[in-house]
C-alpha cells in the first residue's frame, strides 16, 4: 500500500427515505489510519449513510469529497480506492468462492494469492463449491474476503460481524487493525464492538429515526 494519505469528507449531509428525514447536517471526515464506527437504532439510516458515502445513493443535500474532489464527479478515482460490502454479499451463487474472488481481483487489476485469505477465513474446504450452497456465515466470510483482498485503501462494511462466530470476529478485528496500521481507512456499521484499537476509532452515534 502506498503511503499517500487519503481522506474522505462529508459536509452537511441530509439523508431521506421517502417522506422521512433520517439524518440531518452530518459533517465529518475520515483520514488515513482511522476507523469510523456508525451506530444507532434500527431504521436510523446507518446503511443509507454508508451507501451515500459510497456514492450509491444520492444525498438529499450536502456533498461528499474524496481527496477534496466531489465523489460523483470523480467516480473512477474514488472507486479505485474503495471496497464495499453491503447487506447483500455480492457473490454469484452459481460461481464458487474462488471464482467470485478471482473475478473481483482481476477487475481490480490484482493477482493476489487468495489461499492465505481463504485459509484465514476458514473457507479453504468450501472454496470450490458454488456459493449458493454455502451457509450464511460462509457467504459472509467470502464477501469479506473480497474486500480484504481488494487492496483498496477505504473499506466500507455494513454489519461485517453478522453471522460470524467468536473466532471469526477476533480474526477480522486483527485484519482491521493491520489495515489501519498500514494507513488504510475503515468505515463500518455495527451493533457489536468494532474490535478496532480505541485510539484509531471514532464512533458516530446516529440518533433514532422514529420521531
Amino acid at each position: 500500500m502506498d503511503t499517500a494519505s487519503y481522506r474522505l469528507e462529508w459536509r452537511e449531509l441530509a439523508l431521506w427515505r421517502g417522506d422521512r428525514c433520517l439524518q440531518q447536517s452530518l459533517t465529518g471526515r475520515l483520514e488515513a489510519g482511522q476507523a469510523l464506527t456508525v451506530r444507532g437504532p434500527n431504521g436510523c439510516g446507518k446503511t443509507t449513510l454508508l451507501r451515500t458515502l459510497c456514492g450509491l445513493s444520492q444525498p438529499e443535500t450536502g456533498e461528499i469529497l474524496w481527496q477534496g474532489v466531489a465523489v460523483h464527479r470523480n467516480r473512477p478515482d474514488f472507486y479505485a480506492h474503495l471496497a464495499y460490502a453491503g447487506h447483500t454479499n455480492g457473490l454469484k451463487g452459481d460461481l464458487s468462492t474462488r471464482e467470485n474472488l478471482r473475478f473481483a481481483a482481476i477487475l481490480r487489476g490484482r493477482h493476489t494469492n487468495q489461499n492465505e485469505l481463504l485459509h484465514g477465513l476458514r473457507l479453504t474446504a468450501c472454496a470450490d463449491l458454488p456459493t449458493r450452497n454455502l451457509s450464511a456465515g460462509q457467504k459472509r466470510r467470502a464477501a469479506l474476503a473480497r474486500v480484504l483482498g481488494s487492496g483498496a485503501q477505504l473499506w466500507v462494511l455494513d454489519e461485517p460481524f453478522t453471522n460470524l462466530d467468536a473466532a471469526g470476529i477476533e480474526w477480522l478485528g486483527k485484519r482491521f487493525n493491520h489495515h489501519l496500521s498500514l494507513g488504510g481507512l475503515l468505515m463500518i456499521a455495527a451493533h457489536q464492538a468494532s474490535q478496532v484499537e480505541p485510539d484509531r476509532e471514532t464512533i458516530l452515534e446516529l440518533p433514532g429515526g422514529d420521531t
Binding site: 444520492q58 472507486y79 458454488p130
Partner: protein, 222 residues
Amino acid sequence: MISAFLLVLRRELTVAVRRWSDLVMPLMFFIIVCTLFPLAVGQDIEMLNNIGPGAIWVAALLATLLSLNSLFRDDFEDGTLEQLALDKEPLSFMLLAKTIAHWLVTELPLVVLSPVLVLAFGMPVDAIPGLVLTLLAGTPALSLIGSVGAALTAGLRQASGLLALLLLPLTVPVLIFGARAADLAASGQSIAGPLYLLGGISVLALTLAPFATAAAVRVSLD
C-alpha cells in the same frame, strides 16, 4: 476497460452455462408461441404463409421480453450489480457486456432455431437466409432497448407486466421493419431496405442504450 468488458462477458457466459435450464425457457416459449398461431388461425397453408414472418417476429419479441425480466434482477438481489456500479471501470461498458451476453445466450439460439419455424409455417426454403438476416440485424436492438427497461425495473418484484408496458412501445419500429423484411424474404424480394433500417436502429441502440442502462441501474440502486 476492454479487459473488464471481457471479464464481465466471460462471467456472464459462465453463469449462463451453469444455469442452462433458464436459457432453454425463452427458446421453448418462442417455439410454443409459434405453434399457437396455426392452432388459432387454422392450417390453411396460404394463410400460414402470410402470417408466418410476422408471427415469428412477434414470438421472438415476446421471448425476449420473457428473458429480460431476470437480466438485472438476479444481480440486483445478490449484490453483484452494486459491485459493478462501485467499480472504477465505466458502468455502461460492463452493462453492455452483460447485454451482449444476454444476446448471445437468448437471442442467438432463437435466430439459429428460426429456420425450423420457417418450414413449420410452410414458407419457402429460400426465405430462410433472409429471415435469419433480419433476426440477426434486429435482435441486438431488442436486447439493447430491453436492457434499459430491465434496468429500470431491476429493483421491483413482479414487474413483468410493467416491463412489457415499458418496452413494447419502444420496440415497435424493430418489429415493423423486422416483420416487413421477413415478409419480403418470404416472397422472394430484396430485403435490403428494411434490413438497413433495422441495422441502423441496432447501431443507434448500441451507441445510446448503454448510457441509459447505466443511468437506470444507478437509479435502481439508489
